[in-house]
């Protein structure tokens, strides 16, 4: 067995395989399928200061090798998470990361302040890239000043690891990555979903209640790999790679492009046990290629 441990600036992962926010519930939904403690970590659903009902149904449609979603950050708010959900999952021996969203800078700060004292949550992932909410969300993630404002405010309020989740819906993702690095982000994760849209030509109506939504799944992978590779060259902080990872091969591709860890999203819907297969694949790959430490794969494209 090779060495699979990676470190995201103080956040120690037993292996580089995490799950992506909004695709893994609160972990519990997958507990019947495998032992969650085998994961490097999991990122829970986007959490806001107050309860959010999310967008009206319909919220999803399948697209070629992917899907569009318009969930709109439905969640019960951070207090509910801390009081009702966290106690049920805190015993799981893996890194639990809370994905944080807000409509105002003050919202992000308030949520992160509350999470400071949550013992087994050692990192937040700041979502400045959600395409499915009208206010805030992606708006903060598409300009350098917007991103800096949120991240510097959160940095002042939160004492553990800050991962900033970047939007791919920008002209140059490396500019945003450099901007958040400069104001104290410990790591960046990319990418979130790509803004997309689909129309039912029979009814002439959009498939989603919000008309536009976020595209995820295998169809976005080559773009995500490119963005991870560019970003890994542009910043000195670790990059967490995601976007269309369906199997172990895809995970290795992201590591080679420069990701220090990866997240699996939509693929969990198709095979709830896919993350375990990915961990096993990485291990086998390392044996096959005589690599003792997974860290030697990071940025290892020749």
């Amino acid at each position: 067995m090779g060495k699979l441990k990676v470190s995201i600036r103080g956040l120690e992962l037993k292996n580089p395989v995490m799950t992506a926010s909004g695709t893994f519930g609160y972990g519990e939904e997958f507990a019947d399928f495998f032992d969650l403690s085998r994961l490097g970590g999991f990122v829970v659903k986007g959490t806001t200061l107050n309860h959010r009902e999310g967008n009206p149904y319909p919220r999803m449609v399948e697209t070629p090798s992917g899907m569009l979603n318009a969930v709109g950050l439905q969640n019960h708010g951070v207090d509910y998470f801390i009081n009702n959900i966290y106690p049920r999952i805190k015993h799981i021996d893996t890194q639990i990361v809370v994905n944080v969203s807000g409509s105002t800078v003050a919202d992000y700060v308030a949520v992160c302040e509350k999470l400071n004292d949550v013992e087994n949550v050692n990192a937040v992932e700041i979502n400045i890239s959600c395409p499915n909410v009208k206010q805030g969300g992606m708006a903060f993630g598409t300009t350098c000043t917007g991103a800096e404002t949120v991240v510097s405010a959160v940095r002042a309020a939160y004492h553990k690891t800050i991962i900033v989740k970047l939007s791919p819906n920008v002209t140059d993702i490396t500019e945003i990555a450099k901007a958040v690095e400069a104001v104290g982000a410990d790591a960046v994760s990319l990418t979130n979903t790509f803004l997309g849209m689909a129309i039912n030509v029979e009814t002439r109506k959009p498939y989603l209640s919000t008309i536009t939504g976020g595209l995820s799944g295998a169809c976005i992978r080559p773009i995500a790999v490119r963005m991870v590779w560019q970003t890994a060259h542009a910043v000195n902080i670790p990059v967490i790679g995601l976007g269309g990872i369906m199997n172990g091969r895809d995970a290795i591709e992201f590591l080679l492009a420069g990701a220090s860890a990866i997240q699996v999203g939509t693929a969990n819907f198709i095979d709830p046990t896919v993350t375990i297969k990915i961990i096993e694949y990485i291990n086998d790959y390392m044996l096959r290629h005589n690599i003792d430490d997974v860290n030697d794969l990071i940025g290892g494209m020749l």
Partner: protein, 256 residues
């Protein structure tokens, strides 16, 4: 109820007309998970044109032969491909998902099904009968050819049929069938949305409790993505895949 990702072997694929098929599936490892009527499975369909799994109701569990039955209607790319499977092929299922219908211990129950929506009512009728309920089936379809598994249903309840063209049973919609004027302790219904809404309306007018099974568009099927929500009176947006697919119509915000 514990959920599994499990391989099943196709034991039989019985074609029923142009649009429907009954697939009989046996677990490769011989172990059939516990399931309740109204729960569903997520089928992986190995074809180029689909990406996500497809939700399909549990039609029946044949304990004697250790078979799980699913009734499939050709509704598009995935179900069309699914209906082509052959004896011996392997299907990967995630199951059992959702909460099923409530199981009354006795009483007069009317099970109303339309089209392929009859699927979950077969296992439901069997279990209800075992619990000492008096089961009646009201089954509706466009035409005789769309009335599925009639002989099977007859084993567990009294049959009332409606076809739109009058080729079998009463002519018209299920909602026009005379049996709906009788008294029941509970109506349990699965079919096209307009049919379920019409049945719910009649049930409400007659002060009969009514449960329906919804078919919202799903991605994960296990409550992880929040794509399949239905707006409820008791809790706002809830996942149909996890809190449903069966709901008491009093909890739904259906107009009228």
């Amino acid at each position: 109820m514990k959920k599994y990702v499990k391989n099943f072997k196709v034991v039989d694929n019985i074609r029923m007309g142009d649009l429907y098929g009954l697939l009989k599936l046996a677990p490769i490892d011989g172990i059939m998970p516990d399931m309740l009527p109204g729960q569903f499975v997520q089928v992986y369909i190995n074809c180029r044109d689909t990406y996500l799994r497809r939700p399909i109701s549990i039609n029946f569990v044949d304990k004697l032969r250790n078979e799980l039955w699913i009734l499939v209607r050709d509704a598009g790319k995935g179900t069309h491909h699914l209906l082509q499977v052959q004896r011996g092929d392997i299907l990967n299922l995630v199951l059992p998902l959702g909460k099923g219908f409530s199981i009354k211990q006795g009483g007069k129950i009317l099970l109303v099904g339309g089209g392929v929506g009859v699927a979950p009512l077969l296992l439901l009728g069997k279990i209800l009968k075992e619990q000492g309920c008096l089961v009646s089936y009201l089954i509706g379809a466009k035409s005789k050819e769309d009335l599925l598994l009639i002989d099977e249903f007859a084993k567990y309840g009294v049959l009332y049929l409606s076809t739109e063209d009058g080729s079998m049973g009463e002519k018209g919609f299920v909602t026009q069938n005379k049996i709906l004027q009788s008294d029941f302790d509970l109506i349990q219904c699965c079919g096209p949305l307009p049919m379920m809404k019409a049945v719910a309306k009649i049930a409400r007018e007659r002060h009969i409790d009514c449960e329906v099974s919804l078919e919202n568009m799903m991605a994960c099927g296990i409550g992880a993505c929040l794509c399949c929500v239905e707006d409820t009176v008791s809790a706002g947006n809830v996942c149909v895949c996890k809190n449903g697919p069966v709901f008491n119509t009093n909890d739904l915000k259906w107009e009228n």
